[in-house]
């Protein structure tokens, strides 16, 4: 049953990506990307990653869709009917994909409990068996995130802070320039009195 749910959701993901490639309307592309993130969050729940599913649904499907819509309100909604759908690109992508698929033959099968990632004594096994005594937190993901890998999370906060400063310095400083270049009487301004006393409104 679990396998069936995963297979259906994966088919949805592929269908959505084909839609994103084919459609030229950017709004449709952004909404499909949000749907893609939401279905991915559903798959994460099936794969026991509940914390990741929360974050993906809130941040991936929510905030990033809002960011895209905000950026699109400043730009255009239609992609020009061009783009080099060249054979070279397709061949490059297919060759890269084939090499990656060749690489997967060495990987442990999905769900195997005896793969190195699952049995390593210092990582997964340590966290599962000892984290309750070392941190006192029943949710293992929380104890790894905030305690064992606390510096990693601090670095993440630094990255988000830096990104916030970057966005502000890219957009915030520019906003002042249009005021200098703006016409003196923008539409919607209060009527101004010119020197000969006549009132005019643009």
């Amino acid at each position: 049953m679990e396998l069936l749910v995963t297979l259906v959701l994966l088919t949805f993901l592929v269908a959505i990506v084909i839609g994103i490639i084919v459609l030229r309307d950017l709004l449709a592309g952004v909404i499909l990307l949000g749907l893609y993130s939401l279905i991915a969050a559903g798959i994460f729940v099936v794969m026991d990653a509940v914390d990741v599913a929360f974050t993906e649904a809130a941040v991936g499907a929510g905030i990033s869709t809002i960011l895209f819509l905000g950026a699109m309100s400043f730009t255009r909604h239609e992609q020009k009917p061009r783009g080099h759908d060249s054979l070279v690109t397709l061949v490059f992508v297919v060759i890269t994909g084939a090499l990656l698929i060749y690489g997967t033959f060495d990987m442990p099968h999905y769900g195997s409990a005896d793969s190195p990632a699952q049995t390593h004594p210092q990582l997964a096994q340590h966290f599962i068996h000892k984290s309750i005594n070392e941190t006192g937190m029943p949710n293992i993901v929380t104890s790894v995130l905030a305690s064992y890998r606390g510096y990693d999370t601090l670095g993440e906060v630094v990255v988000v802070f830096t990104a916030g400063i970057a966005v502000l310095s890219i957009l915030g400083l520019v906003r002042r320039r249009p005021e200098e270049e703006a016409p003196e009487d923008a539409p919607g301004d209060l009527p101004t009195i010119t020197q000969d006393g006549s009132e005019h409104n643009v």
Partner: protein, 120 residues
């Protein structure tokens, strides 16, 4: 189950390559960012499917559960999701700025404008 053991990874690779194709083959900058989003989410999916253990439960300790999935990929991907949104925000801000300067977000039109400026 044994036949489908690698099926997850193959779907991830198809999704990744679709995202890469969008990034290379489309001139529109916002479309390129959508392709990057597709690529990113498929990587998250690759990591989470590597952490899954058959018959395991979500890694929240409980007396009735004996088998847990691997919590380490979950933690790594939690960080990656937030960092991914931060990079998306910076890229979109740059796109808005490019649109203010060139009045277009099509890569080839921007190149044509820059070439014309360079010649004059």
């Amino acid at each position: 189950m044994q036949i489908l053991g690698l099926y997850n990874y193959w779907i991830v690779i198809v999704l990744m390559m679709a995202g890469l194709y969008i990034m290379i083959a489309r001139y529109n900058l916002i479309k390129k960012m959508i392709g990057l989003g597709v690529f990113q989410t498929s990587i998250f999916y690759l990591y989470i499917s590597m952490g899954k253990v058959t018959g395991g439960s979500a890694p929240i300790l409980d007396d009735n559960v004996t088998q847990y999935s691997n919590p380490l990929p979950h933690v790594l991907i939690l960080t990656a999701i937030v960092v991914g949104v931060a990079t998306t925000a910076v890229a979109l801000a740059l796109i808005v700025r490019i649109h203010e300067e060139y009045n277009t977000i099509e890569e080839d039109e921007i190149k044509a404008i820059e070439a014309a400026e360079h010649d004059s």
